[in-house]
């Protein structure tokens, strides 16, 4: 398939699969990055933007983003903080914790009772454990979570960090 004459269906639509594959490789650091992708998959710049907009609108893509590699910045204390909240309170507390600047991810997850009663997970990163624990202590006080059972699980080692099939952010 030549790049200048892409396969278009009867409606003149280009198959977006090639664009999807190119996007996976990342957006080039040039003044007109969408134009550069357009040239590589035989679309116009406007078509490329329209596809990406559509994928964002449909929720397939959250955003065209970049991921900060914590390790390269010396951010090596990575804490998964888990909470055992009453089901009725979890959504509200989840929203409040997510609004905390130090919290980088916040999910409600299925409990695995009785061994694992925790249903709210959030991540806090920092350069040192002491710092992360101080930040957490401050959050607990301000959000009045003193009576909520919680655990802090620091990571000791990352054994595997590949993106898998699609770009994902650090998952707690």
């Amino acid at each position: 398939m030549s790049l200048t004459s892409p396969h278009r269906d009867t409606h003149g639509e280009v198959d977006p699969q090639r664009l999807r594959a190119l996007l996976e490789g990342g957006l080039p650091l040039t003044e007109r990055p969408w134009q550069a992708l357009a040239e590589q998959c035989g679309m116009s710049e406007a078509e490329v933007l329209a596809w990406v907009e559509r994928w964002q609108r449909e929720g397939l893509i959250k955003r065209m983003g970049l991921v900060v590699r914590h390790h390269a910045l010396g951010i090596r204390a990575n804490a998964m903080v888990v909470w055992d909240l009453p089901d009725a309170a979890v959504a509200e507390v989840g929203r409040r914790l997510a609004a905390e600047p130090a919290v980088t991810l916040c999910y409600r997850r299925r409990r695995c009772s009785p061994e694992w009663p925790y249903n709210l997970f959030c991540m806090i990163h920092g350069t040192r454990r002491e710092r992360v624990l101080a930040v957490l202590g401050d959050i607990i006080e301000r959000q009045e979570l003193q009576d909520i059972p919680h655990r802090v699980l620091f990571s000791l080692k990352a054994y595997k960090q590949c993106g898998g099939r699609y770009t994902r952010e650090d998952q707690p």
Binding site: L29, R63, V68, R95, V103, C106, H125, K160, R165, P172
Partner: protein
């Protein structure tokens, strides 16, 4: 304490402009013909300086490429967080077995009785259960499966 720790590279140094760039771009790139120029204008930088700094941050390994952040579930895939309680003496052996599954995306050792935490990403939601069964068979350990039920949105991925 593993040996690798002794040979860690020094953390990259970011100046104030780098920090503003990283914090702004974690929110995503605008869908306009010249997105870098638009972001540069927001940050009172020239486009050339922004591109130069981004190249440097990518080379230093501080940033990954600009790519699409997908919603795995909406792509029709399955995604879950799972954990194992691995006997200390067996940890490396079990880690190798678990990491051999292509569906395992991240695997962290954490300080807890449940000491191995990994993310599973599969082509279909049904496949999660199959992979969990296969991991249980390969390791002889029970997998704790904790799928996401709700996501609370943080504004920035990581303020630096």
């Amino acid at each position: 304490m593993n040996v690798a720790r002794a040979h860690r590279p020094e953390p990259a140094e970011l100046d104030a402009a780098d920090r503003r760039i990283v914090n702004r771009l974690q929110e995503g790139l605008p869908l306009v013909p010249s997105p870098y120029a638009a972001v540069a204008a927001e940050l009172s930088l020239s486009e050339g300086e922004l591109l130069y700094r981004l190249e440097r941050l990518l080379e230093a390994g501080v940033l990954s490429r600009f790519g699409p952040m997908y919603h795995a579930e909406r792509l029709g895939g399955g995604l879950t967080l799972a954990a194992l309680e691995v006997p200390e003496d067996d940890f490396e052996r079990v880690a190798e077995k678990v990491n051999a599954f292509p569906e395992v995306a991240h695997n962290y050792r954490r300080e807890h009785r449940l000491n191995m935490w990994f993310v599973l990403a599969t082509e279909t939601p049904q496949r999660i259960a199959e992979v969990i069964e296969a991991i249980e068979a390969a390791t002889g350990l029970a997998v704790f499966n904790m799928p996401k039920q709700e996501e609370f949105h943080v504004r920035l991925h990581l303020p630096v």
